[in-house]
């Protein structure tokens, strides 16, 4: 799982089966010091997230397991809100 910041929302009416109702958010992945790292991803959300939130998200096939219907083509899901994230600086 990775840290991320919700930066936007996607509206998509036409979807694959069993994806109706799933919220789609644009997430900027963050490094351990919460700096932007890499390209944004679009993720489903089961944590009632919104723009600006610091979140925990899971990627890959496991992302679908967080959703109510698990056989869905989803490769990123926000699974939690982060209140606090601490890590030692590199090299310490």
């Amino acid at each position: 799982m990775r840290l991320g910041r919700v930066v936007g929302r996607v509206v998509a009416t036409v979807r694959a089966a069993d994806l109706d109702g799933e919220k789609l958010l644009v997430v900027q992945p963050l490094d351990s010091a919460r700096r932007p790292m890499g390209a944004t991803v679009v993720a489903c959300d089961v944590a009632q997230s919104g723009p600006g939130d610091l979140v925990l998200w899971v990627g890959g096939r496991e992302a679908a397991l967080a959703l109510p219907r698990t056989f869905v083509p989803v490769d990123a899901t926000i699974v939690g809100h982060v209140e606090q994230a601490a890590s030692a600086p590199a090299g310490s």
């Binding site: 509206v11 644009v26 096939r61 056989f71």
Partner: protein, 102 residues
């Protein structure tokens, strides 16, 4: 998932048996501002997307998780057609308008 625009189709007559009857689209990857990143993917189309549509596709094992692609050798599947998206509270792109930001 990633944002992308459908820019072409792939016709491949000789292919693995389980790939028959799958529609293959070439999609150009977009960043969150709607700019082409230069990257592309060939993706199975599970939603009936057309040329020029902005879509979302799922990659890796997740791409197999539709009735159409179950058990098939695909690692990218278009699973939604995008109507619009916003970043930092501003609409970046809308199918009913056009690009609001470059």
């Amino acid at each position: 998932m990633q944002l992308a625009r459908v820019v072409g189709t792939v016709v491949a007559t000789v292919k693995e048996a389980r790939m028959r009857d799958l529609k293959l689209q070439v999609v150009a990857l977009l960043d969150e501002r709607g700019r082409a990143t230069g990257g592309y993917q060939v993706a199975v189309d599970a939603v009936g997307a057309g040329h020029g549509d902005v879509v979302l596709f799922a990659g890796g094992s997740s791409a197999r998780q539709t009735a159409l692609t179950d058990g098939k050798p695909t690692d990218a599947t278009i699973m939604a057609i995008v109507d619009s998206w916003d970043v930092e509270g501003k609409v970046v792109w809308s199918a009913h308008g056009e690009e609001v930001e470059a």
